[in-house]
Point group: C2
Chain length 205, copies 2
C-alpha cells in the first residue's frame, strides 16, 4: 500500500481558532470579471489549523521557523495510539518504538471534537515523563490531533520547544495510519519569518 495521506485541516473562512487568537479571515478580493484574475486574501495568525511551533512561540529565542533546515520537517513517522487517555503517559513499549530523529504522532481521537469548546479547553495533555523521554530520545518533532500538548502555564511546550523538539498541532486523519507499518512524515511549513507556520502535513506510505 503506497500513497499519500493528508493530515492537514482545510484552511477556510470560519475555521475554529484557539481561544484568544484572532479569527482567520479568507476572502476573495480580485475577481475574474473585473480584474482579469481571481485572488484570495488570507489574514491569520500562525497558530490556526494545522501548524508547527518553534521555540520562539513561547520562550525567548531569536530563531524563527524560516531559520530551520528542511531536514527538521521530514522524517520517519511513529504513531502512538493514546486513545482514551486524558493524561498521556510514558509506556515501556515506546522504548523500542521511538527512534532518534523520528517524528512522533500522538493519536488521541480528539479530531472528532475539532472546533468544540471541549476540543480547545478540555483536551488530553502530555505527561512530563513522556516529554522527558522524547527529549532524551532526540526526536525531530511531535505531532498530535490536539490544539496543544498542555494547558497554561505550558510546561510541556517549554520542555519540548526548549529542547528543540518542534510541535505540530491540529493534525487530522491519524486513524488512517493505525494499519500502516512504515511511513514518512513530510510536514512543510511556509518559509516565513515567524515563531510558527501554517503547514501542510503529509504521511507518505
Amino acid at each position: 500500500m503506497a500513497g499519500l495521506i493528508d493530515l492537514s485541516y482545510t484552511i477556510e473562512a470560519g475555521i475554529s481558532s484557539y481561544p484568544g487568537d484572532d479569527e482567520l479571515k479568507l476572502y476573495k478580493n480580485r475577481f475574474l470579471e473585473n480584474d482579469m484574475y481571481n485572488d484570495t486574501k488570507l489574514e491569520t495568525g500562525m497558530h490556526v489549523g494545522t501548524h508547527i511551533d518553534v521555540a520562539s512561540h513561547i520562550m525567548e529565542s531569536d530563531q524563527l521557523i524560516s531559520d530551520y533546515p528542511l531536514d527538521r520537517f521530514i522524517g520517519k513517522g511513529i504513531l502512538l495510539d493514546v486513545r482514551g487517555q486524558k493524561s498521556i503517559c510514558m509506556k515501556e513499549s515506546y522504548l523500542d518504538m521511538v527512534k532518534e530523529n523520528s517524528i512522533v504522532l500522538l493519536f488521541t481521537g480528539f479530531e472528532s471534537l475539532f472546533g468544540s469548546d471541549t476540543y480547545f479547553m478540555d483536551h488530553p495533555v502530555v505527561e512530563e515523563p513522556l516529554a522527558d523521554f522524547l527529549v532524551e530520545r532526540r526526536v525531530k518533532m511531535i505531532g498530535m490531533d490536539l490544539p496543544s500538548p498542555d494547558h497554561y502555564p505550558f510546561g510541556i511546550h517549554k520542555k519540548l520547544l526548549g529542547n528543540d523538539i518542534l510541535i505540530i498541532e491540529n493534525l487530522k486523519n491519524l486513524e488512517r495510519l493505525l494499519a500502516v507499518d512504515d511511513f514518512e512524515i513530510i510536514a512543510l511549513p511556509l518559509k516565513i519569518r515567524a515563531e510558527a507556520s501554517l503547514a501542510r502535513v503529509v504521511a507518505r506510505i
Copy 2:
C-alpha cells in the same frame, strides 16, 4: 549526493509582490512579555513569493487548490536550462527529457533580478509550442524562477491551467539543480480554499 534544496523565497515584511497585488504584511501581534506567547499575523494574497496557481486563478472553474490530490504536488523533477532566452522555445532535446507526470522547472537565471521592475515587467516568456508540448506530454506542473510564464492577456497561463498543468511561480536556487541528475520535487501548498497558495517547494536529491 543526497539532500534537500529549498527552492522557496522567505516570506517576510517587504517582500516584492506582482504589480497590482496588495503588499504582503507580516507583523508580530502577540508578545511573550504581555500575552505569554508570541504570534505573528500574516495578511497576504495568494500570489506573493513562491506559490502555485490552479485554473480558477485565471479562468472560470470551481476547483480550488484544496481540492487537488496530494500526488499532483510531488513528482520527478526535470530542469530545463533556458538561460539567455527572452522567449523560451521548444527544443527537440526535450522530447526525450520530459516524461509524463514529471514536474518541469525552467531555469532562466532571473532570480538575480527578484524584486526589480525588470523582474516583474520584462521577464522571459514561454512560447506556445513549448506550452503545447508540455500539455501533450501531460506533465503535473511547470515551475520557474519568474513571476509568470507570460504577460497580459495571459495566453500561456490559460493554456497550461486550462489543461490542468499547475504553475509554480517565483522559484529560487534553481542553479543548484544544474549538476543534479535525478531529483524529486515536493511542492506543498497550504490546503486552502483559494485559487492558489503560498507554497514550500523543495528538491530532494
